[in-house]
């Protein structure tokens, strides 16, 4: 049985076979330029990620899923606005291209983090047995959304995990220590492309992390994601028994998913806080990559 000790996440360039297939599906279905660290971490456990993905996928290219992520995103922006702007950008000496690229990078994570949160909530519901074998009746007229990465989305570029730059290394150490994380998340690794910017936002974010309102806001986002996940149209046939049959330890899968479910609301909130420095809350509450509507009949239209 595959234990769930910390294993090396599978990089996109390292993926082959089933993992390569799923990574491509993740990019096309979630409409995102890269595979984030939490999904890459699950890929380290052989058949787990393909099974998880195949169980979740029918929901993930539905309008309902996209709308759920949009609602989580809007709620994250509202919460971030109540916490207040970080005002981290002034005086950093960033050039115009750097400014614009940081904004594009934030748009990427502002788009994908809420989707990952709803996805994770859905996975846990399925895993807990709360999802939804009875849902098939609801899926009579499910609207599907376009596949494919939006043309202007920033690539999911990130600094290597063990960066050579001592300034970035020290920042990563601090982030890991403060968040008690085994690895530095994709968002921070992307923002580390501009070390001065990451240092500035991290120094302003760090004291906020300990505030009660921050914790409540994050919990609220998690609750919203879970509630919205319950309303998604398709069942999630990934039970503990199925995971165990794959040779993966179900308890540790559950722990890991729970850990992601705790982490992702904070990442969504953090990115909203970062982005508020650049974009007014009203604009930020809208999806940075709204998606075209397509109508399909639930069963006949599924690809």
């Amino acid at each position: 049985m595959l234990g769930f000790g910390r294993r090396h996440a599978v990089g996109e360039h390292e993926a082959d076979g089933e993992i390569e297939r799923v990574y491509h599906e993740i990019r096309q279905t979630l409409r995102v330029t890269g595979v984030t660290l939490n999904l890459r971490a699950l890929a380290a456990y052989g058949p787990l990620l393909p099974a998880l993905w195949d169980a979740l996928r029918p929901n993930l290219d539905t309008r309902a899923f996209e709308d759920a992520a949009d609602r989580v995103r809007a709620e994250a922006v509202g919460a971030a606005a109540r916490i207040g702007r970080l005002d981290a950008v002034g005086g950093l000496g960033l050039g115009e291209s750097q400014h614009r690229q940081i904004q594009m990078a934030l748009d990427l994570y502002h788009y994908v983090n809420p989707k990952l949160l709803v996805l994770t909530a859905l996975a846990r519901l399925g895993f807990d047995g709360g999802a939804v074998e009875t849902r098939r009746g609801r899926a009579a007229a499910v609207e599907l959304i376009d596949r494919g990465v939006p043309g202007t989305m920033y690539p999911m570029e990130m600094v290597e995990e063990g960066p050579a730059d001592p300034e970035v290394r020290a920042l990563f150490d601090d982030i890991q220590r403060t968040l008690a994380r085994p690895a530095v998340n994709s968002d921070y690794r992307t923002l580390a492309l501009w070390p001065g910017y990451l240092a500035a936002v991290w120094s302003r974010l760090k004291p906020i992390l300990a505030r009660q309102e921050y914790e409540w806001a994050a919990q609220g986002l998690g609750d919203t994601a879970r509630a919205l996940a319950r309303d998604l149209p398709y069942p999630v046939p990934l039970t503990r028994e199925r995971v165990t049959a794959l040779g993966v330890d179900a308890e540790t899968v559950d722990e890991r998913l729970a850990e992601f479910e705790r982490l992702l609301p904070k990442l969504a909130l953090n990115v909203a806080l970062f982005a508020l420095d650049w974009t007014p809350a009203a604009a930020l509450a809208r999806s940075p990559f709204p998606v075209e509507r397509r109508r399909f009949e639930a069963d006949g239209g599924r690809r």
Partner: protein, 282 residues
């Protein structure tokens, strides 16, 4: 100027769904400096201040290079690059410019001078790709799709540093090499570099050969005499085919002539560019 300082000086233009980063310094007649592969605009940091004393100097990162768009969903051939540079000039309302190109940047410059001649007021070719002089055997294996799996980002950077070093007549400064390879030190950067190599296409210069005799703008060809990547015989061919072109061989210099002989390159470039300024003053 460090590569970080250069990066911080970059502005950004949008061209359709793509974006292009560039430095814009100085005032006067516009001069566009085009880098080659596998470098980026930082290639020109040593000549930029001198040229910007009397000219408006524009230094873009080609698409897929440096800190321009490096997403994995567009062609990076020099044909596309030339179109992008023309669209970028229109965006900046630069009607025409002196275009200086190194390596594949020279290929882009040649395409502009032959296929969009109204955009080029003067042409300077420095150790440039042309005819069937390229792609280099050394780079080609990197362009295979499987390279992205076989090679880690740090591995690609090591490979690049070794390859670049062969383009210098003497040992290059390690900080300079760090700066030249910096944009390619991530997985996205590595993949973009692989796609850039995959886009190298001899036909995009061989198809220009019939048009070279129609180039009607002043043309200066500056070449490292010991260039191993683009041997000087190609410079001689260009000098014969482009009417009135003047060739200057830089002694004891290889491909990266601007680093091997920086003072001489600055002086020669400035001499070529200042003809306009001096003519106007006269």
């Amino acid at each position: 100027m460090t590569w970080r300082q250069f990066q911080a000086a970059q502005r950004l233009a949008t061209i359709g769904d793509r974006f292009l980063s560039y430095v814009d310094q100085g005032a006067g007649n516009p001069v566009i400096l085009l880098h080659g592969i596998p470098t980026w605009g930082y290639l020109w940091h040593g000549v930029l201040p001198t040229l910007a004393e009397r000219h408006r100097v524009l230094v873009p990162d080609l698409l897929g290079f440096g800190y321009s768009d490096r997403s994995d969903r567009f062609d990076r051939s020099i044909a596309v690059q030339a179109d992008a540079i023309e669209r970028w000039m229109i965006e900046l309302r630069v009607e025409s410019a002196t275009v200086v190109g190194h390596d594949i940047g020279g290929g882009v410059a040649l395409r502009l001078a032959t296929l969009a001649p109204r955009r080029v007021s003067r042409l300077c070719l420095i150790d440039t790709v042309c005819y069937d002089s390229w792609p280099s055997e050394m780079l080609l294996p990197l362009g295979r799709p499987e390279s992205s799996r076989k090679l880690s980002a740090p591995g690609a950077v090591r490979l690049l540093r070794r390859a670049l070093a062969d383009g210098f007549a003497s040992h290059p400064d390690p900080d300079l090499l760090d700066g030249l390879v910096a944009p390619y030190a991530t997985e996205v950067g590595k993949l973009s570099l692989i796609r850039n190599v995959a886009a190298l296409n001899t036909n995009h210069t061989t198809e220009l050969t019939p048009h070279l005799p129609q180039i009607a703008v002043p043309t200066f060809i500056l070449w490292g005499e010991d260039d191993r990547f683009q041997p000087v015989r190609y410079a001689e061919r260009l000098a014969n085919d482009i009417p009135g072109a003047r060739l200057y061989r830089v002694e004891r210099a290889r491909h990266f002539v601007m680093f091997d002989r920086p003072d001489e390159v600055r002086r020669r470039l400035r001499g070529f560019l200042d003809i306009d300024v001096e003519a106007r003053a006269a």
